[in-house]
Symmetry: C2
Subunit: 463 residues, 2 copies
């Protein structure tokens, strides 16, 4: 079996913890592994690591690569140059696998940002799905509704039994409360988990029949020549979901009930639901002091959060933004995100802490003509050999040791030592030593942009 | 007339905006002047600046001095070496004024942290009080209750009229709701504003009769010799309020109704009450984005605060701590403050931004063996000539120009320039230029304490 992990989401509903450039799938929300890493691990229960292909947006590619490389030395990754929803991504990923494989494999497609804990039951479900996929069905995995949820799409099976699942009658959009209650009573409706399984040949022929535009553009792209997805072709793709392009139209859809636990972690409310609560129904994470709150979720990532007498309230504190929200309004976090986007406020886009292949940096202060960062370089890593046209830099080592190349000089700096990097000087910050390195960087200049960087050499292929 | 401003409070109920080392009276809560500055101005309506004496704790003396020097070149300030509540402070302040004055003056005592906007009506009240004070009464100013408040002490006049006020029958403690309702109905009860007025000789004789211990210790202190209050004497003072020591026991107490507006700003609820609200009853200050909150107070001092669907909620964001509190629970902020104190968490004590006579600094990052600050030096100011036994420092100029003395050298540094200050080197950072100066300071060392400072010269008398 092969697996496709869809890792391109932006997770706007978990702002301010998720950001456009550091979305939900990359976060350690529930365990010490990210949701992406947990998803990868879940697939390794029933396929070799080298059969797993991840597809993400180019914006997240280096982070996805970094996280997966902690689990595996075999990383197959496609990067979309622009976001075009799930239909084009799945088409390309299936084509990529079909071309690499000698036979007509069964492929499972999974979102990268859902929670599934029960390994055994998940495995049983996958086995049932595989039977139907081998019979030529496109298999969806559905969850038996336990209450009339209005935030999910539903799949109606109308009770027609197949060998290990149901024949699907129709996909339906998110219902209103009354309709959701009817679906619940009827018993033939399931929540759509976003997990699919099929034989490569079946899916490709459905693409050809049902959405020939995507199929034809996919065929323009030659993965033999280059593993990169060319912008010119991909930008022509229609921006649609696989549900809309294939699932709602195909007559080959079957459903297997997902018997394990499942949560889409689609809002702070759902994070609260899966978290362990105290006797008052509260979840406290980080540096929190409370007096008498109830049924609330308080998350502090950096500063002290003191709460008094709150009820059914969500507070999420990050270095540069704080969310305070009534628990039944967490779906509206998306609107805050959109408002920030409209206002050109980059708080929706990045954290003050930005992760890079070599470590991370945190902007600790900025003003007219300067930016100050703490830069953390993991042991054995190095930043690219680079220069800047508009800014000078000043580095002060805080801990660890720095190996610095500056024009034709090479320096080793100990804690407390500093060096000036003039405008246009060719330089590199490296940490070939045994401990992590931390420095303060003060950037000075009239123009201070992350883009003002000319790379000459880079161990992460970013030249 | 003479005035005494009581400026020693710690304002724990307005945490996290007020801190033990930067209390409520120093904050610009309502206008661009601090409550202390507004109080000083209010007194200048009816007395010369040089007749105003402030008394504060030594911890706040430099900040009180700095704020008052913005308004006046005549600053009379007594610093208590330890906190002993209001009775000892008022005794010493009255004695100080009585000794300086050729006649037996009328003195008004005012808290430094209350809000009074209506200048004309306040003045009328003061004139009425002065008549009774001249007649030998100790005059309290009372507010006619508009609702059964349980958070204030009450004064019962029992309706006995004097020429311009009432004879006071008794002081009563904070009542329960039922008792407060009775007081309101009765009509002879007033809220205690904490403002008093009296002839110096009358007050000193009441101290002598009613609390001879305080009176005798006061007489040990000779302000002719030194304006400083000696610790050895002052530490013997009992820790009690003037209400308890004098007002509740004296038979000479009168009350004048305070006809102006008045608010003790004693909780976030009362700050909300006096603030201008939008059509949904919300007060937003700073960088706030809201979706549908009601009757809430959202204060952001540094980061984005996004709120959704909150009701009757207070959020106060500062650089290092966030408070989220139901509006009817704001009295419990004091408990959070006490909890932090018990836990040795210094978040109750200082802000990350610390004000100094020469400007201020903000701690922007700290870790094992280092602290990084942004230091802001106002134009024309200089830090003391100093050295450190345990830490080295590294300075990078961000904006403005720095004049640096380092052992026997003198340097002028422009933006982007840096200098190393080794352990034990004698140095001074100065800004004799026309613009404010901003530098990054990186302190390095195994021991990093504010106390590790030896001062050789200081323009603010701190050697």
């Amino acid at each position: 079996m092969y697996g496709i992990i869809l890792a391109g989401g932006s997770g706007s509903r978990l702002w301010p913890l998720s950001r456009e450039l550091y979305p939900k799938q990359l976060l350690n929300l529930i365990s010490d592994k990210s949701l992406l890493q947990s998803t990868f691990e879940r697939l390794t229960y029933f396929m070799p690591q080298e059969n797993i292909l991840s597809i993400t947006n180019v914006k997240h590619a280096s982070n996805v690569k970094m996280q997966l490389s902690e689990l595996s030395s075999h990383i197959n990754l496609l990067s979309e140059p622009v976001s075009k929803n799930t239909a084009p991504a799945i088409a390309l990923a299936v084509k990529y696998i079909a071309e690499k494989s000698d036979y007509d494999p069964v492929i499972i497609v999974v979102p990268s940002d859902h929670l599934v804990n029960d390994k055994e039951k998940f495995l049983q479900t996958v086995k049932k799905g595989e039977i139907l996929a081998q019979q030529g069905y496109i298999v969806t995995f559905g969850i038996k509704p336990s209450y009339p949820e209005t935030g999910y799409g539903y799949i109606n099976t109308d009770g027609k039994l197949l060998s290990s699942g149901y024949k699907v009658k129709e996909f339906v959009e998110k219902p209103d409360a009354e309709t959701a209650e009817k679906y619940l009573q009827k018993g033939t409706y399931f929540w759509n988990s976003g997990i699919f399984m099929f034989k490569a040949s079946i899916m490709l022929s459905e693409y050809k029949n049902l959405t020939p535009e995507i199929y034809n553009i996919s065929n323009e792209i030659d993965f033999e020549k280059s593993p990169d997805i060319p912008f010119v072709s991909f930008d022509k793709m229609p921006n649609i979901s696989v549900d809309y392009a294939i699932m709602e139209k195909s007559s080959k859809i079957a459903l297997v009930e997902l018997e394990s636990d499942w949560n889409d972690l689609g809002s702070w409310q759902s994070i609260y639901d899966v978290s362990k609560k105290d006797s008052e129904g509260n979840v406290f994470a980080g540096h929190v002091i409370d007096e008498g709150s109830k049924n609330s979720f308080i998350y502090s990532s950096s500063k002290l959060v003191a709460t008094i007498g709150l009820e059914d309230t969500i507070i999420v504190e990050t270095e540069d933004a704080i969310l305070a929200c009534k628990k039944d309004r967490t779906q509206d976090v998306k609107q805050i995100y959109e408002t920030l986007k409209k206002q050109n406020d980059d708080t929706h886009l990045i954290h003050k802490t930005v992760y890079r292949p070599w470590g991370f940096y945190t902007v600790i202060a900025q003003g007219k003509g300067f930016i100050t960062k703490i830069i953390h370089v993991n042991k054995g890593q190095k930043l690219s050999v680079q220069s800047h046209n508009y800014r000078s830099e000043h580095w002060v080592v805080l801990s660890g040791k720095a190996f610095v190349k500056l024009d034709n000089k090479e320096l080793t700096l100990n804690p407390g030592h500093s060096v000036d990097i003039p405008v246009k000087a060719i330089h590199s910050l490296q940490n070939p030593f045994e401990d992590d390195l931390e420095i303060i960087e003060v950037q000075k200049g009239d123009i201070l942009l992350e883009d003002d960087i000319i790379r000459y050499e880079d161990m992460y292929g970013r030249v």
